[in-house]
């Protein structure tokens, strides 16, 4: 079995969390923290690092990937139940990502193309990549990561050069209510938590798994905070923070202001095209993780049946998430942060505490027995 290298893993994790965060975090963070929204991704570095440390602690206990880790910590029955929940949640995440992609296509690119065509195309290329295996997805992620980062840097610098308004960022660090900060914090920590998915791929990681995953998570945390912070900064600076939550796609509105000497203009389509690549990798990894979890949980030899049936499930759930763009906005700002936190923060936190206690108790017993002997 070919293994995923450290660099490929970094690209995979980055593409797992960054492309969707581009569009999710703009409206969410500016709605609550306005002109200070761009500071949250920087402030999240320490909590994010602690979150990743927690994941690594759980992983280190027995060095096995999920869902075996669930079985180990929660017992066979509850482990399987939680695994099934995670499978469904990964598929729901795929549906949500597919829906975001559709909304953008419908609003900005192909206004009259039916939903079925767009869904079919994205699911088809995802299915094709999954058939080719995780190594293939890892190889692709390198190309797409390079493409995405390059374009992101270009666009943000262009927006900053062309329409940066310092006044939009003023006053810095003022009017930061506690509740708003908490919403912003949990919104972003939930997005970062998606990186936990990488533990389902632990079996495919080359070399010292823990070390590779640790270094990858640390690198991605820095990249994530830089990319999202700079995107939010340029969003707030070019558009006014008060209007961002009301825009259907604030990032695209910002990108539309970018131009090269007024000759190359309206390059938002180019941005969407590259963004589609990122979304494609995100969707594929979640889908692959769901498939791997199912294979392991139910000891399946082949994942073809699962891929075909789950493809239909993803499409159906995606179509029925909401009937309007406003409904999707509610999903983005309310439901998804809640679900992300449940699955990627609270459940792992519970397991973490449980394993801490488990590790602490025998030591306590030992200490007690030692003191009795004395």
């Amino acid at each position: 079995m070919e293994k995923i290298s450290s660099f490929q893993l970094k690209c995979l994790i980055a593409l797992l969390i960054i492309p969707a965060a581009f569009f999710e975090e703009g409206p969410l963070l500016t709605a609550v923290l306005k002109n200070n929204a761009w500071l949250v991704p920087i402030g999240i570095i320490l909590p994010g690092w602690l979150l990743f440390k927690m994941y690594l602690y759980i992983f280190r206990q027995n060095n096995i990937s999920f869902p075996e880790a669930f079985n180990e910590h929660l017992g066979r029955f509850w482990g399987k139940i939680i695994t099934i929940f995670y499978i469904f949640y990964f598929l729901v995440l795929c549906s949500y990502i597919l829906r975001i992609y559709f909304e953008f296509m419908k609003i900005n690119l192909l206004l009259t193309t039916p939903i079925s065509v767009l869904f079919f195309l994205m699911l088809f290329i995802g299915f094709y990549a999954l058939k080719k295996g995780i190594n293939n997805i890892a190889r692709l992620s390198v190309i797409i990561f390079a493409l995405t980062i390059f374009l992101n840097i270009f666009l943000i610098s262009n927006c900053i050069i062309n329409g940066f308004k310092w006044d939009n960022l003023q006053p810095i660090l003022s009017d930061i209510p506690f509740k708003a900060s908490l919403i912003a914090f949990f919104g972003l920590i939930g997005v970062l938590g998606k990186a936990m998915t990488v533990f389902t791929l632990a079996d495919f990681v080359a070399g010292d798994k823990e070390k590779t995953i640790k270094s990858s998570l640390s690198t991605v945390l820095i990249i994530f905070s830089l990319v999202i912070s700079s995107t939010l900064l340029s969003l707030c600076a070019t558009l006014h923070p008060s209007i961002i939550p009301s825009l259907s796609s604030a990032v695209l509105t910002m990108v539309r202001t970018a131009h090269i000497s007024y000759f190359i203009q309206n390059i938002d389509i180019l941005f969407i095209s590259v963004w589609i690549c990122g979304i494609y990798i995100t969707l594929t990894i979640f889908w692959f993780s769901a498939s791997i979890l199912t294979q392991k949980a139910f000891s399946l030899r082949d994942n073809r049946f699962f891929l075909a049936s789950s493809g239909i499930f993803i499409a159906l759930v995606s179509a029925s998430l909401s009937s309007t763009s406003l409904g999707l906005f509610v999903w983005t700002t309310k439901f998804m942060p809640f679900l992300n936190n449940c699955f990627f923060v609270f459940i792992p936190l519970f397991i973490f505490i449980k394993s801490l206690i488990k590790n602490y108790l025998p030591n306590k017993h030992n200490n007690e027995s030692l003191s009795i002997k004395k």
């Binding site: 660099f7 192909l110 994205m122 295996g133 000759f263």
Partner: protein, 531 residues
């Protein structure tokens, strides 16, 4: 009617039957069998004669046109007549046996360089088909194969398909031995190995695969050798046959080996741990394994200064992108995303397209097809007519089509530009892939605009990234990413910093160049004082 291949009655089964049949001691019987086997071959020649005292009956057999008759006359027949008479005079008292006589002829009489013994019919036919002459003696169950190969062959000429400004000009020919000599002349080392095998039940084609022992990974060499030896086909007429027969992905459109006619290019690749495969009768040599990014390298990149070579490589990569995507992007902009085109330019394009009866997609498809027709016609027509067709096609038909309002000038410009860009790609096979994929991108752009282009791009790179040939991923060193080798693809490193060969799994000797420490300024001063 059943057209299925029936192995029972195939000629090769007959040939196999004869393979184990040994020669008879009777010359007459041997002659009869050979005449019967080669009945209907007008070029089959037999010359019977006797020599010595008591006379020994002998016969020489060969195919006309494949042998050097002067060599047969002077170095074979004449030698036997003169030397054997002397030999018999000396050995008058003890008459030698015919087997001894064959040995004597081989070791003491014949002055030709290449003489070996043969004992079955199939080998005799194979040898004479290759241009050798066989000498058979009466009362002797074996014969002598004498190397007298000589046939009309194309002289070594300049490379036609891979022309360069700098560097060697010669190219391979259809003669295997001449090709191997061209390589041997460049790589004068005992580590440079050339192994030979025969493939093709009817064609019995000589195939040579070459590598440098301490550089090429042994697993790769063994793999190639095994795959070649497993080929069971009636005939091999070109290296293209082999590429499809030994490949891991037979249904892939991507070229899995580099076809080249330049000895210097083969040597360069052998020095990077690759394996070359040559066949008799083809001037093209297969080099494998190759990766897709390698197709951006031109032979003379390595003969000119590294800075212009690097810039030219960038130009080639850009030309590849233009050739692949320009038409598709133009169609998608015109059809779906007008807002991206600056207003004055959009107005110019719209005014030029007024009166054109086709949508942009159909117009582009028609022009692309016409361009491909002209290109193919130019290739197939004789050299004298080819350029004329291109000129007529490009200038007269193009101009007439624009004037008639069938196509617009901007579209002609775009198609011509992407066509010219495709000529910049230095590898013909990579060029073909680009041409095919250009149509796929065009259709995707016509259907779904930039989104369609992006979906096609994702599918294309997914496919390319999933393919590995002989254990090397097709998109490496881009995907999987290799930071040490990526610069070797994007740039042409200067030789003084190109210390390592491109890495391959199992490669033993990666060091290419040992940099010597530069003389310090003190040494230089000392040297100038001494002088």
């Amino acid at each position: 009617m059943d057209h299925s291949y029936n192995n029972k009655f195939s000629p090769e089964t007959v040939a196999d039957k004869h393979k184990s049949v040994l020669l008879s001691p009777e010359l007459k019987k041997n002659q009869e069998v050979l005449t019967q086997r080669l009945a209907g071959c007008f070029d089959f020649m037999q010359r019977e004669f006797s020599f010595g005292s008591p006379p020994v009956k002998a016969s020489i057999i060969f195919f006309e046109g494949l042998v050097d008759k002067r060599q047969i006359e002077n170095s074979l027949i004449k030698s036997i007549f003169i030397n054997c008479n002397i030999f018999f005079r000396k050995e008058q008292n003890s008459e030698p046996s015919h087997a001894d006589l064959l040995d004597t002829l081989k070791n003491k009489v014949l002055t030709l360089a290449e003489v070996k013994t043969v004992d079955n019919y199939e080998d005799i036919i194979l040898q004479i088909s290759s241009g050798d002459t066989v000498l058979l003696l009466d009362n002797c169950a074996s014969g002598l194969v004498i190397g007298t190969r000589s046939w009309a062959a194309r002289a070594i000429s300049m490379s036609e398909n891979e022309t360069t400004v700098f560097g060697p000009k010669e190219s391979f020919t259809e003669t295997l031995i001449s090709n191997t000599a061209m390589l041997r002349r460049r790589l004068k080392s005992s580590s440079f190995k050339m192994e030979r095998l025969t493939i093709g039940r009817i064609s019995q084609t000589s195939v040579c695969f070459c590598y440098i022992e301490n550089i090429a990974p042994p697993a790769l060499v063994a793999n190639v050798k095994e795959r070649l030896s497993q080929i069971d086909i009636d005939a091999i007429l070109d290296t293209g046959y082999l590429e499809e027969l030994i490949t891991e992905e037979p249904y892939s459109i991507f070229s899995q080996a580099m076809h080249t006619e330049r000895p210097d290019r083969v040597c360069g690749n052998l020095l990077e741990g690759k394996v070359g495969i040559m066949i008799d009768g083809s001037p093209m040599v297969l080099v494998l394994p190759v990766t897709f990014p390698q197709f951006a390298n031109a032979p003379d990149d390595y003969y000119i200064n590294y800075i212009p070579a690097t810039l030219l490589r960038f130009l080639r990569i850009a030309a590849f992108a233009v050739s692949l995507l320009m038409t598709a992007v133009f169609v998608s902009l015109l059809t779906y995303h007008h807002e991206m085109i600056p207003t004055p330019l959009l107005l110019t394009i719209i005014s030029a397209r007024q009166g054109v009866p086709f949508p942009a997609f159909v117009e582009a498809l028609l022009l692309e097809t016409t361009f491909e027709l002209l290109r193919e016609a130019g290739l197939r027509l004789p050299n004298a007519i080819g350029p004329a067709v291109s000129i007529v096609g490009a200038l007269i038909i193009g101009e007439a089509a624009v004037q008639a309002g069938l196509v617009s000038t901007p579209m002609v410009v775009v198609i011509a530009f992407s066509g010219i860009a495709s000529f910049v790609i230095p590898n013909y096979n990579a060029g073909i892939i680009t041409r095919i994929m250009r149509f796929v991108f065009l259709i995707a752009a016509g259907l779904l605009g930039l989104f369609g282009i992006m979906i096609t791009f994702i599918l294309l790179i997914t496919r390319m990234a999933s393919v590995s040939f002989f254990g090397i991923p097709y998109l490496s060193p881009v995907a999987p990413f290799n930071n040490k080798q990526i610069f070797d693809i994007l740039t042409r490193r200067p030789w003084f910093s190109n210390t390592l060969r491109p890495w391959q799994e199992g490669m033993k000797n990666q060091k290419r160049y040992e940099p010597k420490p530069a003389p310090s300024s003190k040494d230089k001063k000392g040297a100038s004082n001494e002088s």
